[in-house]
C-alpha cells in the first residue's frame, strides 16, 4: 500500500543572481511499514526533500501525495491540520516543549486532536513504556538526557497514529549508546506495530539498520537499494 508518492519533484531557489536547483527531478514511492534512510553529503538536498515530504515546503514542480492527498491542494491551516493527523516529526534537537513534562509532551498532539482523557492517558503511558521512559513521565525535558529527549520525541511523533514518521538526523546530537538505544526502539516499533519510518541521515549506524537506502546527490536520486531480510542488498 503506497502511503507516499513523490512524482518528478523539483525545487528551485531563485536568489539574486543564481538559480539553485536544490531538487532536480526526484521520483520515489514509499509503502507502509518501510524503514528507509535518505543519505547524501551536505548540499545534496536531503533536508529540502524531507521538508517537502513533510509538507513544510512545497515543490516548484512535481507532486507529493500522502495517502491519496496531494499536499499542494492543501492551504495553510488545512495543511497544518493534515500534518497533525498524518505525519509524525522527529527533529535533530529541540523537539519538545520545555515547559511540559514528558507525559504532557506526548499527549500534546492528542489534546489537539481532542481525544478524551481516558484514551489519551492510556495511549500516553503505552507509548512511554514502548520507548522505555515510563518512570520519567513527569520530568521536564531539561531533566532528561539528549537520548531520553529524542525517545520522548519519538513517542510524541507516534501519538497521533501518523501515516509515517519523518526523522531528520535524529541521532546527530547523540552519543553512541543513546543512538543505539533510539534506533533499537524505532526498529522495534517498526517491526511490531508496522510504523513507517523515513530518516534523513549521514550516520552510518542508521544506514546499517535501514532496510532501504536512498542516496541523493546534487538533488537527484543516484541509488535506491532495498535490503533483503537477511541483510544483503538486492
Amino acid at each position: 500500500m503506497k502511503i507516499l508518492e513523490i512524482k518528478d519533484v523539483h525545487k528551485i531557489y531563485n536568489s539574486s543572481e543564481v538559480q539553485v536547483h536544490a531538487i532536480n527531478g526526484v521520483t520515489l514511492d514509499f509503502e507502509k511499514g518501510e524503514f528507509a534512510a535518505i543519505v547524501g553529503p551536505s548540499g545534496s538536498g536531503k533536508t529540502t526533500l524531507m521538508n517537502m515530504i513533510g509538507g513544510l515546503d512545497s515543490p516548484t514542480r512535481g507532486t507529493i501525495t500522502v495517502d491519496h492527498t496531494n499536499l499542494a491542494d492543501l492551504k495553510s491551516s488545512r495543511l497544518i491540520d493534515f500534518r497533525m493527523w498524518n505525519i509524525g516529526f522527529v527533529f535533530q534537537s529541540y523537539n519538545l516543549i520545555p515547559v511540559l513534562t514528558a507525559k504532557e509532551n506526548v499527549e500534546f498532539i492528542m489534546n489537539l486532536q481532542k481525544w478524551d482523557k481516558k484514551d489519551r492517558d492510556h495511549r500516553t503511558f503505552e507509548l512511554l513504556k514502548a520507548v522505555g521512559l515510563k518512570e520519567r513521565a513527569h520530568s521536564r525535558p531539561a531533566k532528561l538526557s539528549g537520548g531520553q529527549q529524542q525517545r520522548v520525541a519519538v513517542a510524541r511523533a507516534l501519538a497521533s497514529k501518523p501515516k509515517f514518521v519523518l526523522a531528520d538526523e535524529p541521532t546527530a546530537s547523540l552519543d553512541t549508546k543513546s543512538s543505539e538505544n533510539l534506533l533499537d526502539i524505532m526498529e522495534e516499533l517498526n517491526r511490531e506495530e508496522g510504523i513507517t519510518f523515513i530518516f534523513s541521515t549521514h550516520d552510518q549506524r542508521v544506514v546499517k539498520k535501514a532496510r532501504r537506502v536512498i542516496t541523493l546527490e546534487d538533488g537527484k536520486v543516484i541509488s535506491d537499494e532495498r535490503k533483503k531480510k537477511n541483510g544483503s542488498s538486492s
Binding site: D81, M84, F91, P98, V99
Partner: protein, 473 residues
C-alpha cells in the same frame, strides 16, 4: 482544552523568571504611581469643589435672569410662597435656602474694607453651607498657647506647631488636632487641656434680631471681636443708600480664605431691610438629596420647566467657572505626566516581547510543524502577555490600596509659608485622597491597550511564520 492553553501560557511565563518579573515590575511601578497620584489629584479636586460649593454656591441656585451677569440689588426677585411650594415638591429637593447677597463697605473705626454681605436664614443654612457648624470653637491666642505650654508636657513637634499656628481659629476640635499633628493616643491626654484654654465662646444670629456673624479673617483685619459693632455702607434697591450698624454676635471660620476674609452674615430679613429690598432675594439655593452629576443635571432640567420666565437656574459648574478651569488644567497636566510614564513602560514591555519572540522562533516552528494551528499558538502567546500585564496591575493595586486608605484618613495638611501660598490663591491648604473608584479601571484599560499593541509583533511573526526558516533558527 482551554485550561491546557492557560497552563502552557502560565508555565511559559516562568521560563525566564527574571525577565518576566522585571517586566511585570515595571508595569507595577507605573500602575502604583498612576493610581496614587490620581487618587491625590481627584481627591483634592473633590475637596476644592466641595469647599466652593458648600461654603458658598451650593449645587443649584435659582436667581433672577440677569443677576449672575450683573450682580446688583436691582436684579433681585420676590420670593412668593407658591414658587417655594413648587420647588420643594421636587423629588430631589430637600430644602430651599433663601439668600440675599450684596457688597458693602465695612468699617470698624480705623479700618475699612469691602465685604460680602450675606443675608441668610441660619436654620436653613445648616443644610447647605452649614455656616452654624463653622462657628469658631477654639482659638489659639498667644495667651492660650502660653497657658497650654505651662500646664502640659508637650512633645517637641507639637510645641513647634503650636507656635506656627498661633492665632488660628478652629471650628472643630478635629481640625485642631490634625493641625497640631496629634495622634489619637496622644489626643486623650493633650486635647482636653488644649481645648480648655483655646475655648472660644460664640453666639448665634436669629431671624428678626439685628446682629452679625463675621468671618475670622475679616474680624482680625477689622480688629473686631464679639460684642463690637460693625458698620456697613452700601448701595440699596433703586439707588437708595444702605447703611447700618450691627453688633457682632459670632465669628465663623470658612475654609476658603477668600470668603473668610470678606464675609458678613446677617439674618435674612435684617439684610433685606438694610438694602431696602422688601422681601426680594438675590438667590434661592437648593439642598438636594442626590448630588451626583446626573441627578443634578436632571434636577436642573426639572427646575427649568417649573420656574417663571424671569428666573434662571444655575448649576455649580456655571457658578464656579474659574475653579473648573483651574482644576481642568491641573487634571490634564496630571494625565499627560502619567501618559508619558506609561509610554516609557510600554516601550520596555515591547522590548521584552521582542526578545522573547526572537528567542522562541525555532520553538514556534516546531509547534506549527507538528500540527499546532497558528491561531492556537497566537492565543497562547496572548495569554502569556495578558498574564504578565495582570501581574503588574494586581501588584500595583495591592500596594496602592493600603496607601490610599491611609491617605484618606490622614490627608496632607500644609502649614506655614506653604499654606499661605495655597490661601493666597484661594484654596484650603490641604490635599485629600480619593477612594477606590473608576480611575483604577482606567489603569487596567491602559495596561491592556499597552499589551495588545505589544502583541502586534509576536502575532505578526506567528502568522507570517515560514516553518522551514524557523526550524533553521
Amino acid at each position: 482544552m482551554i485550561e491546557k492553553n492557560i497552563t502552557l501560557a502560565w508555565r511559559n511565563l516562568w521560563r525566564n523568571r527574571r525577565r518576566t518579573l522585571i517586566t511585570a515590575a515595571s508595569v507595577f511601578f507605573a500602575v502604583l504611581f498612576a493610581v496614587v497620584m490620581r487618587s491625590l489629584q481627584l481627591g483634592s479636586y473633590d475637596t476644592m469643589f466641595r469647599n466652593a460649593i458648600e461654603s458658598y454656591s451650593g449645587y443649584i441656585q435659582i436667581q433672577q435672569e440677569d443677576y449672575w451677569e450683573n450682580k446688583t440689588v436691582n436684579n433681585t426677585f420676590p420670593y412668593v410662597s407658591s414658587l417655594r411650594k413648587k420647588i420643594i415638591s421636587d423629588e430631589n429637593v430637600v430644602e430651599t435656602v433663601p439668600r440675599f447677597e450684596s457688597f458693602a463697605l465695612a468699617s470698624s473705626g480705623p479700618q475699612t474694607k469691602g465685604v460680602m454681605v450675606m443675608g441668610i436664614n441660619p436654620e436653613k443654612e445648616r443644610y447647605l453651607s452649614k455656616v452654624p457648624d463653622k462657628l469658631v470653637k477654639y482659638r489659639l491666642t498667644p495667651e492660650a498657647v502660653k497657658q497650654i505650654k505651662a500646664e502640659l508636657d508637650i512633645p517637641e513637634k507639637v510645641r513647634e506647631l503650636l507656635d506656627l499656628v498661633e492665632n488660628t481659629s478652629y471650628p472643630s476640635a478635629d481640625r485642631l488636632q490634625l493641625d497640631l499633628d496629634i495622634s489619637d493616643d496622644e489626643a486623650e491626654e493633650l486635647m482636653p487641656v488644649i481645648r480648655k484654654y483655646a475655648r472660644f465662646d460664640n453666639g448665634n444670629i436669629r431671624m428678626g434680631e439685628p446682629g452679625a456673624w463675621v468671618g475670622d479673617g475679616l474680624s482680625r483685619y477689622l480688629e473686631l471681636d464679639i460684642g463690637d459693632s460693625i458698620v456697613l455702607i452700601g448701595q440699596g434697591y433703586h439707588a437708595s443708600t444702605a447703611a447700618g450698624k450691627y453688633e457682632i454676635k459670632g465669628i465663623v471660620k470658612m475654609p476658603l480664605p477668600d470668603i473668610d476674609n470678606k464675609i458678613v452674615y446677617l439674618p435674612l430679613d435684617i439684610c433685606q431691610n438694610l438694602y431696602n429690598a422688601g422681601s426680594n432675594l438675590t438667590s434661592v439655593a437648593l439642598h438636594v438629596d442626590d448630588n451626583d452629576e446626573k441627578a443634578i443635571a436632571n434636577t436642573v432640567n426639572r427646575m427649568k420647566q417649573m420656574i417663571p420666565d424671569r428666573l434662571r437656574v444655575l448649576d455649580w459648574k456655571e457658578m464656579n467657572e474659574v475653579l473648573v478651569s483651574q482644576i481642568e488644567a491641573d487634571n490634564k497636566s496630571g494625565m499627560i505626566m502619567i501618559g508619558i510614564l506609561y509610554l516609557v513602560i510600554a516601550f520596555g514591555v515591547f522590548g521584552t516581547v521582542l526578545m522573547m519572540t526572537a528567542e522562541r522562533r525555532r520553538e514556534f516552528g516546531v509547534l506549527v510543524a507538528i500540527g499546532m494551528q497558528k491561531r492556537k499558538l497566537a492565543s497562547i502567546i496572548t495569554s502569556e502577555m495578558l498574564f504578565m500585564g495582570l501581574l503588574g496591575i494586581l501588584a500595583g493595586c495591592v500596594v496602592a490600596i493600603p496607601i490610599i486608605l491611609y491617605g484618606m484618613e490622614h490627608p496632607i495638611v500644609f502649614k506655614g509659608e506653604f499654606a499661605r501660598i495655597f490661601e493666597d490663591y484661594g484654596f484650603e491648604p490641604i490635599m485629600t485622597f480619593q477612594g477606590i473608584d473608576t480611575y483604577f479601571l482606567w489603569q487596567v484599560v491602559i495596561v491592556a491597550i499597552m499589551v495588545i499593541i505589544a502583541l502586534g509583533h509576536p502575532l505578526n511573526r506567528i502568522f507570517s511564520l515560514k516553518v522551514v526558516n524557523a526550524l533553521r533558527a
